[in-house]
């Protein structure tokens, strides 16, 4: 609690520790500032594209439908055509499915295992805690893109391994956040009260601590999702990510890079697609109350 709290306020304000405001739900949507609403719309748009896009895409992603390469935007090809004369709209839709799907799955894996490990380290004995912290602190020291390169070199870039790579690259960060939240919570008097009462460790972790971690961890999950999108697109851009014939948004930029000289929409639109997705997530997360500190 801030040392400036006077006796006037002391008995009335709730603790400012993480989780204190966790129960304030429901009002969030209404009070979301403009930037947050814009972010929400952008995120929802891309999630919708990834989910239902493939059902309404005009062409198969691999179908060569025009004899004009790097075609401009037109009524027939609203996003132009790519370096082989394929429909960019369809390719972006399917690319978004890969990007959003992979990143979402990897972010869920990273955040969930980070939270579980963070709780585990807090409630278990010194040795488990020490080993987990040391190992994951070491992992965090390998910059995630570098780690991904090492993983790709060793295991290649099949989809399951890309997923694993992305999740592993970001699990250490999630662990660090979860652990610091859990450590803060574990010195809270209500957790001590539970301990003195004789509650088991599992109860303390799941019932006393977890509910108060969910909100900050969700915000952290959003950030992690954004970084994973950036990393996976970057890998594909380098030709080390999703391999042809499949293509995520990063691959689309790479394969159409030769159109850059002419400013072809085929190279700019996928790049803008990635940017709108990540900016949207960032705007949304930032405007949520109770944001955890930086990633």
């Amino acid at each position: 609690m801030s040392p400036f709290v006077t006796p006037e306020t002391r008995s009335e304000i709730p603790a400012t520790k993480p989780g204190a405001a966790a129960t304030v739900t429901g009002r969030k949507r209404k009070s979301l500032p403009l930037s947050g609403r814009i972010g929400l719309v952008m995120v929802l748009f891309w999630v919708a594209v990834a989910l239902v896009g493939p059902l309404i895409a005009p062409h198969a992603p691999g179908a060569v439908v025009s004899n004009k390469v790097f075609g401009p935007m037109s009524l027939r090809f609203p996003m132009g055509t790519d370096y082989l004369g394929r429909d960019m709209l369809s390719r972006v839709i399917f690319g978004a499915q890969y990007t959003v799907g992979l990143a979402l799955a990897a972010a869920v894996m990273a955040s969930a295992s980070g939270t579980v490990l963070g709780l585990l380290a807090t409630i278990s004995g010194r040795w488990v805690e020490e080993i987990l912290s040391r190992l994951l602190d070491a992992l965090i020291c390998v910059p995630s893109t570098i780690f991904a390169l090492v993983m790709v070199a060793a295991f290649g870039s099949s989809l399951p391994f890309l997923l694993l790579t992305a999740a592993l690259s970001y699990v250490a960060g999630a662990f660090r956040i979860a652990r610091s939240l859990a450590v803060n919570l574990s010195v809270q008097e209500y957790v001590q009260a539970a301990r003195v009462r004789g509650e088991g460790r599992l109860h303390i972790a799941c019932v006393e601590m977890l509910p108060n971690m969910i909100h900050p961890m969700l915000a952290d999950f959003g950030l992690r999702f954004m970084f994973i999108v950036l990393m996976l697109s970057g890998l594909s851009f380098l030709g080390l990510g999703v391999q042809p014939p499949a293509a995520d948004l990063g691959s689309l930029i790479r394969e159409n890079l030769s159109g850059l000289d002419n400013g072809a929409p085929a190279v700019l639109l996928p790049a803008i697609a990635v940017a709108t997705l990540t900016i949207g997530v960032n705007l949304l997360i930032d405007s949520l109350p109770q944001r955890g500190d930086d990633a």
Binding site: A15, V196, G198, E208
Partner: protein, 572 residues
Amino acid sequence: MSSHQVRVSNLRVVTSDAADRAAVLVKDVSFTIPRGEVLALIGESGSGKTTVALALLGHTRAGCRIAGGSIEVAGTDVLALGSRQILDHRRRRVAYIAQSAAAAFNPARRIMDQVTETTVVGRLMTRNAAREKAVELFRSLALPDPHRIGERYPHQVSGGQLQRLLAAMALMSDPELVIFDEPTTALDVTTQVEVLREFKRLIQERGTTALYVSHDLAVVAQLADRVVVLNSGEVRESGPTMRVLGTPTDSYTRSLVAAATGREAVCALRREVAIAASVGVSGRGDLSEPLEPLLSVDGLTAGYGKVDAEGFPSAIALRDVSLVVKRGGALGVIGESGSGKSTLARALAGIVAPAFGTLRLEGQLLEARMERRPRKQLRRIQIVFQHADAALNPAHTVAHILSRPLKLYFGMHGTERNERIARLLDLVHLDRSMAARRPPELSGGQKQRVNLARALAAEPALILCDEVTSALDAAVGAAILELMAELRRELGLSYVFISHDVSAIRAICDEVTVLYAGQVVDSGPLRRLDDPAAHPYTRLLVSCVPEMRSGWLEDAPATLGQLGTARLDASR
């Protein structure tokens, strides 16, 4: 212009978030302070007293704004000042002394630079003149080593000294008005006396006009010429200090005065009960052998940090503490900050493992660490923490919070459990509908009642109370104490009541133990507090509790030096 140094009329402060539904924090407050007088602004939590004080400086906290009225200080219309002029107003005319000096000083800068900052920046004095003046003020505030104390950083100076340094900072520009905002609330009572005395002398010597903001009627009685009583942003009563505190006419003021003096009454009542109880106990004691104590602590040494070869922790908080809690008894543990009283509570609860010493509950050896204690023993000792809201999980409903011990200790389910929860709420005088609420929706007093109910749910023999009323307003705290006395009578509970507040101890305990720097310096029945043969520190502690009569400050013990060298260590 007028003989009034300060004139506030119809001041109105509102929250500025939603224009249509702005909450009013201060409603049409008016008062004047004649030159050279001290006016006290009295109020509890949320009374708006600090908001009024800050308004005199032309300042409102984030989210608030002044919506009406006028403020005049030494002939200046404060609300009409531009942003440049406001700075000048604060540098020359009005000075502010905050509650916590430890927080009000910048930790990264030397004290002297901070004391002289605005006089130098505002070109009121040259740097050298300012330094000389500061040293002179340090000396007149009886600060040690006045020439060099300014070269230190805030963390190198004790709390009481920092509070005086803050006063020196305020007086640098010889302001027309000094605002004291609860300046001694964060201090220990023995330090408070010293600081109050210096403040009073300074005010008298300089003929300072002052506004003294406080919730503590006894402190106010020592310093103020007149008082204004605030409640929910409105003036309830004002007048000369002794008239208002002696014969309050307003109902709210009466309740405040009653809460402050009422403890004495409760205390008297409690003494009788205790005597009656002890008669009862000894009556039974005649039949069987003297009752075994509920809890006995023998040679307890505990602390934090690495343990050395002989088993002593690097920072020892408690040294060789022994005490006994009688069945049905209430033991008060008094101590100031750093006395180790919180460590005692944590060691008894098994949160901190002691380095040495044994604990016995009902004659049975109690494991040092709570993890090793059988559930039955855990159930018999419950703890209630100081911060009512930090002790309740904000994610759970009151019903859930109360149901855990019932399930854990008694395996209760379904309607049986719900009925028990309802009865527990009755027991602590909370409405049964509270069961569905979550802690953030409750007031401070209600939260502390839920904490008590949770402890009671375990049907314990002993409840450890760690400063349970310190964070509450006097009236709310008094009600909690009353409830605890009632519960003890009805359920035959025992308490270990840990507090820095002598009057709270008087109100509820029948035995006392005095802790100083981790050691027991005195112990005995409650009347030990008034025993002339008690340990000098006990007498000092008791005599430092402010009383609501004028002239108490002058009668209070002269110096702490009387206590010898041990005392001096404590000032870090």
